[in-house]
């Protein structure tokens, strides 16, 4: 027992006091110094405080510099994490932009449609005719057939031969009526023939479709002056179309000795139309 205590004492004494090969201070001395510094620092003596502030400044600066690699590593990790997040965010934003673009286009389309519908409604109010508004649902462009299908039929009072207006100008006539839809034969169709009158001289003619954009004026008088003539209206001589509906104007330019007419209602730009059901008896509308 006594030997073991002695061994412990010797080992402790040796550990405390012995200086190794390259040790300049023994542990005992350093522990005493540490305790002294601790006590002095706790008493808060002014010289110790000043010394501590100087040491603090120096160590903080060195610490800031030496911490930089760890901080750099942390910042680099954050950078890559942020980069991945930004990449994801970018992808999401791209999708969002695409969605917004689509919505914008949709809004723009709705705006245009709304404008056209408003025009149509205004036309309904101002027109001297009783009309029904319709929308073109099917537009089959073909060199042999220039006709369109509208979303109104006999349920809306539409009958065969009824004239069709686009923005107040003659666009064609009804050639086929179903319960919920109708077909309009456009003025430039090869089968289209309508009696017209050319102002200002009141020259009578037949506006014949040529399968092209511009129909031809046929059966004009021999002394017809294309330079003077301007507007073309329906004459109503067939007993089907009402008279005085503006159709187009004489096109100043002869092709193969034929006089062409430029239609007011461009057949390629029609989307909403008014089918004339009858003459209005309302005087205000006149």
């Amino acid at each position: 027992m006594s030997t073991s205590r002695d061994d412990f004492g010797i080992a402790i004494r040796s550990a405390l006091l012995q200086r190794g090969a390259k040790q300049k201070f023994s542990l005992f001395v350093l522990i005493v110094i540490s305790l002294t510094i601790f006590v002095l620092d706790n008493i808060e003596l002014k010289p110790v405080k000043i010394l501590r502030s100087i040491v603090n400044d120096a160590v903080y600066r060195v610490s800031a510099i030496s911490s930089s690699p760890i901080k750099f590593g942390s910042a680099t990790k954050d950078f890559f994490v942020n980069h991945v997040l930004i990449y994801k965010e970018n992808e999401e934003l791209k999708l969002e932009i695409e969605e917004l673009k689509k919505q914008k286009l949709k809004t723009s389309f709705l705006e245009t449609e709304n404008k056209q519908l408003q025009e149509l409604v205004q036309l309904d109010k101002k027109s001297t005719f009783i009309t029904v508004g319709a929308k073109i649902i099917f537009d089959k462009n073909s060199p042999y057939l220039n006709s369109v299908i509208i979303n109104k039929g006999s349920n809306s009072g539409i009958k065969l031969g009824m004239p069709v207006l686009s923005k107040g100008y003659l666009a064609g006539r009804i050639v086929e009526v179903n319960y919920l839809s109708s077909r309009i034969l456009m003025l430039n169709d090869l089968n289209s023939r309508i009696p017209v009158v050319v102002s200002p001289n009141g020259d009578q003619a037949i506006l014949s479709g040529a399968g092209k954009k511009k129909p031809i004026l046929e059966y004009l008088p021999d002394n017809f002056n294309a330079q003077l003539s301007k507007a073309i209206y329906t004459s109503g001589k067939d007993g089907i179309l009402f008279s005085g509906i503006p159709v187009g104007e004489v096109f100043e330019g002869k092709k193969n000795n034929r006089i062409e007419a430029k239609l007011f209602a461009d057949p390629d730009q029609i989307s909403l139309i008014n089918v004339i059901l009858g003459k209005s008896s309302d005087l205000e509308a006149m």
Partner: protein, 185 residues
């Protein structure tokens, strides 16, 4: 001609010896640099995760090198590193120094008391070193300052320091062998 050649060979030998000495010196001071670096660079705060994981790398370094090769880590430097740590962590000067020196004392005692040491003897005697080191810190801070050190935090710190010791022991052991090989090469 012959003398010129022999001079050249001698110069080359001298350069080789200088490079060898430099490399050996660098390897020997690296643990010390590491200790200074971790004391300066707020190591405690850099490796503090999930509110519980933290470990005292200084204890591991001091304990291992004082126990295994005290010529690499001088007591004076241990004291200095403690002082630096106190400044960085805003502790009263001398707190960490005392703590580190007592860890070194346990290591020096174990070195003197044991003939053959292994990982297990080192590891289990390290518990005493951790206990004394942390107890001194806790006692000094609780008794002489307005700081309120938490039992739980210190317990977790001690626990993780203890758990991680064998891993660092392996690394340091390997490193020590490299140094010894270079020295006696």
């Amino acid at each position: 001609m012959l003398s010129l050649e022999s001079l050249q060979i001698w110069r080359q030998c001298k350069m080789a010896i200088n490079v060898k000495t430099l490399r050996e010196g660098f390897l020997r001071v690296l643990p010390l640099f590491l200790l200074i670096y971790i004391c300066i660079s707020e190591f405690h705060t850099q490796f503090y995760y999930w509110n519980i994981f933290s470990f005292n790398f200084q204890f591991i370094l001091i304990y291992y090198w004082i126990l295994r090769d005290p010529s690499i880590l001088g007591y004076g430097f241990v004291f200095l590193c403690g002082a630096i740590n106190d400044v960085v962590l805003s502790l009263p000067l001398g707190t960490s120094s005392l703590s580190y020196l007592f860890v070194a004392l346990v290591a020096a005692y174990v070195r003197n008391a044991t003939v053959r040491s292994s990982l297990f003897t080192d590891w289990f005697t390290f518990v005493i070193a951790i206990f004394i080191g942390n107890f001194i810190t806790y006692f000094l801070l609780k008794r002489f300052t307005l700081m309120k050190p938490e039992y739980v935090t210190m317990f977790y710190n001690s626990l993780f320091t203890f758990i991680l010791y064998p891993a660092f022991w392996g690394v340091f052991e390997l490193y020590r062998r490299i140094i010894n090989l270079k020295t006696y090469d």
